[in-house]
Amino acid sequence: MLQINDLHASVDDKSILRGINLEVKAGEVHAIMGPNGSGKSTLASVIAGKEEYEVEKGQIVLNGEDLEDLAAEERAHKGIFLSFQYPVEIPGVSVTNFIKTAINETRKAKGLEDMPAKDMLKLIREKSELLEIDRKFLSRSLNEGFSGGEKKRNEIFQMAMLEPKLAILDETDSGLDIDALRIVANGVNKLKSKDNAVVVITHYQRLLDYIVPDFVHVLLDGRIVKSGGKELAHELEEKGYDWIKEEVNA
């Protein structure tokens, strides 16, 4: 599904990613862990097509297609979804209107008609129940005055509505209490299938107890320095990152 080859990226001439190699197959869950400043969020933004980042070298390939020349919205149309660490507030645009616009623009890009209003309502009802979202919540302005937990739940709600092929969850666990974490993780798990893939970016093991990864990668100074199974996450939780740094330096 996703193949990243020797990816180098920088922002404002500061090099952040220095040769990332990663392969994610359909049906897999990958976790990317690493200390602050290691490049985790940058990797997510670069895959999603944020323009501030300069890709200097390497490729990101989604289902055989090089994404280099595609704008962020075109990547979204191809099925890439990024759950933001800090979702942006957009006053004046309700959650419902926003997701309707997102879905219909995606359909338009694929040459499809707008989704009939009835189907849209049904889909919204279904997916909001999945994430235990109150109907009143849907008519509020997008992310405006939302609590941390509400913002993240809203991100996963949008993911559920858009049914992406590749979902990247950037620190989706930060700012969540245990109940919200459970709801969000439950939502992600229900959306998982053999046809899609999930990349979870996180600091902590906590979320990985709920969304169990097939692979865990450690990102350090813009490179994946170690990969392993889910037990690697436990090891990191126990021992921190210093031992890996030492391993790398040695």
Partner: protein, 437 residues
């Protein structure tokens, strides 16, 4: 001959034409003298520092066209709010168009200024209200000197006018260049409520300059809801001077939507002559090319326990320029005043500019006054967020601009008008928004 000379020398002919014996002859005569002494404002005057009239004054305008022109309703239907029943006062090249209008004398007067000035039964209202709050600045004086036609609206007490009133001025291009000087008088008596929509629309690329003056009187507990749609074509300019006099417990709202025109200047003045009242002025300006929009507002808090709210949003593309000059005066007696002013702007290009200047003059000591102005760009992180969800750049930018304007748009109380304005904005931004905001 300069435009000023032409106007001054045309005055006698104009009065002969309309009615030299009119009881407002003295008012007109004084006004032309004031205009002659002051001339057109120049950038040397503080209030005109950022707006130059030079480019609009250079044309050889016809100053009072006599010919009547007809237009087919189907050609101009789109400029009306036509999906609801309304009263209409329509002018073509400054002349009243009876076949496009729907006026009334049934319990309320929705009719013509020319009739009100000539017929004895309106004389008392004219004597009590005409030219009582318009200032003696040069442009208002010029309008007063040539005042003859416009809307005359008088709502007696205890009337809830259910149909909005549309005042629309069309210009057809019959004249090579046309100067229009509509004069409106609106008197709303105790406990009455009226909604008015005003629009100036040029149907030609010939230069048109409109120097409009509107006086609005809200008597006790009256509610006046006034909307100005300024979406004119590239050679049409508008100087709008609106004066609102409020009595006890009144509520007056003026919304100004400035989406087009070569040069637009809005002088909006509220005088609070009473207690416990509310004045609201809101605006959305979205312009591009070399267009210029200048909002010059004044709220004069004279007595205690009153509020004023100002909220102006501006979006400027290309080489467009904007001005916001908001003055709030709180007199010594006006204790417990709440006065709020906010002006937020987005510049979409390096060549666009906005000059924003709040002016607060507060002489009372127990008041709440606030003002804030911002100038920024569209939020890049919000754009990325929307694009990530599949919304293309153009639509994402439009949605952000709608969101930015939403506070003003959401306070439009006529749903069909709100829809229309949303559509005008969507057209302007080149997008098709699939829902009502």
């Amino acid at each position: 001959m300069s435009l000023k000379e032409k106007l001054v020398s045309s005055f006698l002919a104009f009065e002969n034409e309309v009615d030299v014996d009119s009881h407002i002859h003295n008012i007109r005569n004084e006004a032309i003298k004031t205009f002659e002494a002051k001339g057109f404002p120049s950038k040397k005057e503080e209030a005109w520092k950022y707006t130059s009239l030079n480019s609009v004054l250079k044309h050889d305008y016809s100053v009072f066209p006599k010919q009547e022109n007809a237009i087919d309703y189907k050609d101009i239907k789109k400029y009306f709010i036509h999906d609801i029943d309304t009263y209409k006062i329509v002018f073509i090249d400054g002349k009243y168009s009876s076949h496009l209008s729907q006026v009334t004398h049934d319990g309320i007067d929705v009719c013509l200024m020319s009739a009100a000035l000539n017929k004895p039964k309106y004389r008392l209202v004219i004597e009590n209200y005409f030219n009582k709050i318009a200032t003696k600045d040069s442009l208002s004086s010029l309008n007063t000197a040539f005042s003859n036609e416009g809307a005359y609206i008088h709502i007696p007490k205890n009337k809830l006018v259910e149909k909005p009133i549309q005042i629309i001025h069309f210009s057809t291009g019959n004249e090579a260049a046309l100067l229009l000087q509509p004069r409106n008088l609106i008197v709303v008596d105790e406990n009455s409520h009226v909604q008015i929509i005003e629009r100036h629309q040029s149907l030609t690329d010939n230069p048109v300059l409109t120097n409009s003056v509107t006086e609005i009187f809200a008597n006790k507990r009256a509610i006046v809801d006034y909307y100005k749609i300024q979406n004119d074509n590239k050679n049409a300019s508008l100087i709008d001077s609106t004066f609102v006099n409020q009595k006890d417990q009144t509520n007056c709202f003026v919304h100004t939507f400035s989406f087009g025109g070569k040069l637009t200047r809005n002088n909006l003045n509220f005088y609070q002559n009473g207690e416990r009242m509310d004045s609201t002025m809101k605006g959305i300006t979205i312009i591009g090319d070399k267009q210029h929009v200048d909002h010059n507002t004044l709220v004069h808090h004279i007595e205690p326990n009153c509020e004023s709210h100002q909220d102006y949003k501006g979006i400027f593309a290309d080489s467009a320029t904007g001005v916001f000059n908001g003055k709030v005066v709180v007199e010594k007696e006006a204790q417990k005043t709440n006065a709020f002013q906010s002006n937020n702007n987005i510049l979409l290009s390096d060549k666009a500019s906005i000059n924003t200047k709040p002016q607060l003059e507060i002489f009372a000591d127990d008041v709440k006054c606030s003002h804030g102005c911002t100038i920024g760009q569209l939020d890049e992180s919000a754009l990325f967020y929307m694009k990530q969800r599949g919304i293309p750049e153009k639509e994402a930018r439009a949605l952000l601009m709608f969101a930015f304007s939403n506070n003003v748009l959401s306070s439009v109380k006529i749903p069909e008008l709100k829809q229309r304005i949303t559509k005008i904005i969507a057209n302007k931004l080149g997008v098709n928004i699939g829902f009502d905001l």
